[in-house]
């Protein structure tokens, strides 16, 4: 076989595999949209579930619950994760200690989410009971390694020549971080943060023991209340219940809403990145 033929074959293999990945994604999306679009209505989005086995009404409380958990886990994970990444990347960059922290972060990231759920139950639920705050802390911890890693990557894209230029003007380390490093890393940091939240917002295991309720007649009134959540509602609707077929439909609708939220989060991330890249001269 001559060189050009083998080139061509290799090219086609890569191209087919690439299209295969796209195909799988489109297939999943198409499947969910096809099966879920039928139940989507104003009522489905904006009202409480009713009827036997929650087959009627909508999923409003679960949407609200998921939003609360997203915001709560951001509040937990962002400051902690960003500060930790600043510490390892700016203060102790090549030291043994930063290697150790990095190793622990990676290990933390490979713990299965159900274990986080168990841990959250042991710690946060015994502190606050099953509640939004307990769930937010559990999800926040789950997001933490991802937040740290993406923030570190963002900080690493800031060239050292900028830090050095700042020190040479008599700026302290803290001033350099605040005025040069963070502003230039900002778009990438925000993108990473949003993506990591998108990642955890669909998790079921961590909220299973810590916050999620099967059904609540009232919306939560404080962070110490339990809440419904989309992933758990999806789980409930597709497994338990007397009318599995009708339950499936609601489950597909719920899945469609959940995916839409996650995709919206991702689009926001890439929008922010492009917007800031333009504004700051593409640095």
């Amino acid at each position: 076989m001559d060189k050009r033929t083998s080139q061509k074959i290799a090219f086609w293999i890569f191209r087919l595999l690439g299209w295969f990945v796209v195909g799988v994604l489109l297939w999943i999306l198409g499947f969910i949209v096809y099966n879920g679009i039928g139940v989507i209505s104003f009522e489905f989005i904006f009202s409480k579930p009713t009827g036997v086995g929650m087959l009627k009404g909508g999923i409003f409380p679960a949407i609200i619950g998921t939003f609360c958990l997203i915001i709560g886990s951001m509040i937990v994970a962002f400051p902690l994760g960003v500060m930790s990444a600043i510490y390892t990347n700016e203060y102790v960059r090549d030291g043994k200690f930063s290697k150790f922290i990095r190793m622990m972060t990676n290990n933390l990231g490979s713990i299965p989410s159900i274990v986080f759920g168990l841990f959250g139950m042991a710690l946060f639920v015994s502190l606050w009971g099953r509640s939004i705050i307990a769930g937010a802390f559990t999800l926040g911890l789950l997001a933490l390694p991802l937040v740290i890693r993406t923030t570190e990557e963002a900080l690493r894209t800031v060239p050292d020549s900028l830090r050095i230029g700042s020190y040479a003007l008599g700026a302290t380390k803290l001033q350099t971080i605040r005025r040069v490093v963070l502003p230039s890393a900002f778009p990438n940091i925000v993108t990473g943060l949003i993506l990591s939240i998108g990642r955890v917002s669909g998790e079921t295991a961590p909220i299973l023991f810590t916050v999620a309720a099967y059904f609540l007649a009232e919306l939560p009134s404080s962070i110490f209340d339990q809440a419904m959540a989309l992933p758990y509602h999806l789980y409930v609707m597709s497994t338990s219940g007397k009318n599995l077929v009708a339950g499936r439909e609601v489950a597909y609708g719920t899945a469609l809403v959940l995916i839409t939220i996650v995709l919206m989060i991702n689009f926001t991330a890439s929008f922010i990145r492009r917007h800031f890249a333009k504004k700051h001269g593409g640095h």
Binding site: S161, G165, S166, Y167, L169, G170, A171, H280, G281, G282
Partner: protein
């Protein structure tokens, strides 16, 4: 009066002996050029004058370096204050991802200066000092990255001038620039001399001859010769200097 007095300086990167027994004096309001083959320690010596070498891990320095009669490596020496006195311009322009105005104002802001009018005047003055004002006065709010390489380098000079240092260190400031930008920077060095003491590293022999009063020739970490620029280029004491200047090696 000598503004810089280096006495018996040795500098190490780990085990590597990068500067060997270097002693020299620099007079106030003069231009000193350092020349020498690549890797001979010119940048290392320059960075030692504003303690930028401190940022490199695992380095060691012995000997004494006085600036304005003060030992800059004394235990109680204030590094940030030193860097305000000894400004630096780097080989590659490194403006911050901020507006032109904010780049120049940066040094003032991190030094706690708040007065709006004061900052505005100082920014203008510094940009004029760096011969950039005419080109940017209508677009001070634009990103510094919109400037050409030569303009960026003059912006970095303006940025350094804004905090009124006593000494300006320049490490091959024109090596990344075209001939026109280079000659602009050379003219600039000539005018800045009245107010500042300038120490410049250059690979360009003609440039050293054109801009400097005193020239130092480094080789393999040693300061081979340090003398009046005219003498250095017309009638050097050492054969190694002669060889390097006439391009017989290096």
């Amino acid at each position: 009066m000598n503004i810089i007095e280096a006495q018996d300086i040795n500098f190490y990167y780990g085990d590597f002996h990068a500067l060997k027994n270097v002693s020299l004096n620099v007079a106030k309001n003069s231009v000193t050029a350092f020349i020498g083959p690549s890797g001979c320690g010119k940048s290392t010596f320059l960075r030692l004058l504003n303690r930028m070498n401190d940022l490199i891990p695992d380095t060691k320095l012995t000997g004494k370096c006085l600036i304005n009669q003060e030992d800059i490596y004394a235990k109680k020496a204030d590094v940030d204050a030193l860097r305000k006195k000894v400004g630096m311009v780097f080989q590659k322009p490194n403006p911050f991802p901020k507006s032109i105005f904010e780049n120049v104002a940066y040094g003032l802001r991190v030094n706690g200066i708040k007065g709006k009018d004061f900052i505005q005047n100082r920014v203008e003055e510094s940009l004029k000092g760096a011969a950039l004002w005419e080109e940017v006065k209508d677009k001070l709010g634009r990103s510094a990255y919109d400037l050409s390489g030569g303009q960026q380098q003059r912006l970095c000079i303006a940025r350094a001038l804004a905090i009124k240092p006593d000494i300006l260190l320049m490490d091959e400031p024109a090596s990344a620039l075209d001939p026109i930008s280079t000659s602009k920077i050379e003219d600039l060095i000539y005018t800045l001399k009245t107010e500042y003491t300038i120490v410049i590293v250059t690979h360009n022999m003609q440039q050293a001859a054109r801009v400097s009063d005193t020239t130092g020739f480094f080789m393999l970490g040693e300061l081979i010769e340090f003398s009046d620029t005219k003498k250095m280029f017309l009638n050097p004491d050492k054969e190694q200097t002669q060889n390097y200047i006439t391009g017989r090696f290096g």
